[in-house]
Symmetry: none
Amino acid sequence: MTTDRRTSFRDIKSELERRIARRIWPPGATIPGEEALAAEFGVARATVNRAVQELARSGIVERKRKSGTRVALYPVREARLAIPLVRKEIEAKGAAYAYSRLSRAVVAAPDFLRARLALPDSAKVLHLRCLHLADRTPFQFEERWINLDAVPEARGEAFEEIGPNEWLVENAPFSRAEFAFRAARAGRDEAALLQVVEGEAVFVAERMTWLAGKPITFVRMVHPPGHRMVTEI
Amino acid sequence: MTTDRRTSFRDIKSELERRIARRIWPPGATIPGEEALAAEFGVARATVNRAVQELARSGIVERKRKSGTRVALYPVREARLAIPLVRKEIEAKGAAYAYSRLSRAVVAAPDFLRARLALPDSAKVLHLRCLHLADRTPFQFEERWINLDAVPEARGEAFEEIGPNEWLVENAPFSRAEFAFRAARAGRDEAALLQVVEGEAVFVAERMTWLAGKPITFVRMVHPPGHRMVTEI
DNA sequence: AATGCTATTATGTCTAGACATAACGAGTCA
DNA sequence: TGACTCGTTATGTCTAGACATAATAGCATT
């Protein structure tokens, strides 16, 4: 008999999960109080507390003072979606990152952009087109518009070495962001840049950011077929 | 002078956040150890531990034993993605929800599924194909496999009235889930079911769920072109 | 019957101390 | 030089006990 390892809050957590899975405690049922569980497992109440709290955080159970803890009827299905820098994302895969700026121009904000970001008619924006590569293969085509009224410093940046993504992270934090993801067919230009056949299904992520109510930037990120956005709970 | 409320781990957490935001501890810097912070704030080390652990969980700092805690160089921004029931999603748009089961069969787990869910060779699964409609228009084609070893009760359910989604929510909670989103071209069958042209770009969401380490289900949800998955921070 | 107070109860959080574990570095031995 | 051992250090986790707080039920007053 080797050293009996102390029962961890993890052991308790998985045992509770098992009981919920086995319907020993069906959805809606109230599970024993912390005191009782602590006694049953022979651990301190704080240990049970941590186990049950983690279950509550992941939405499996719901807790309420005085009433106790009950198995959730409709577990909250909410995923956290990490938004890394493209560079980090590529490096995390173990691939070599490369960046190339395709074009850069100060232009009057196009109609769709003025509508989306609620910009005035006179608004000037910096329009950028860039390509991010993983091991020399196109990974993401980025088309970005930066509101020069909100971020005038962007005028002085060429974005030849550093991506607008990274530059903005350091120079223009945002307080609010809106994301949209969808599938689309690659247009002629996009197809050529991503080295895929025209009309292929591409994964498009769009992002708008604001700082203190002021629109900062809108970006369209197009990924070649096969790209997967992954997350977990 | 009213009662000095005890300093909570929340107070400590927000003070640490403030210092990081103000660059008192710039990105990459190592912050004081738990012992030191506990002394500074006049609290127990466990309290500091909880504060710092929560910061680590949200990606603001990185911890490593022995080396200490450092401010993350590239804080991972994360968005919360709500994963509602299809029915709720459709109803939230103000559209009428309709559901139809297309097929149901108990089969040996196909290879790709065995690989993904780490199922034994002998595994039996319930294979379902369903369609969810919004105002009589195809909204989502759902193809699902349920691990009968983990959820034997599914054998007794016809899924003619209630979608597997909703049934599982009530009958098999999960502790861990993995999501993947991607773009794909509609196959012949999918195209017909979704009433789109074959080869169109469809938005595919995939989900795998486990309870206490045991695989529960894998589902592929295909949305017609134009579908957008939206979220914000 | 409506209102307000109070005791009870379950969870929430904190303390002080302890041992566990990972990782690093220095010293030791072949 | 290289492999191994062992101490040091910072985080990770647990204990036992305590007080805090929210929510409820029951009692008492109007």
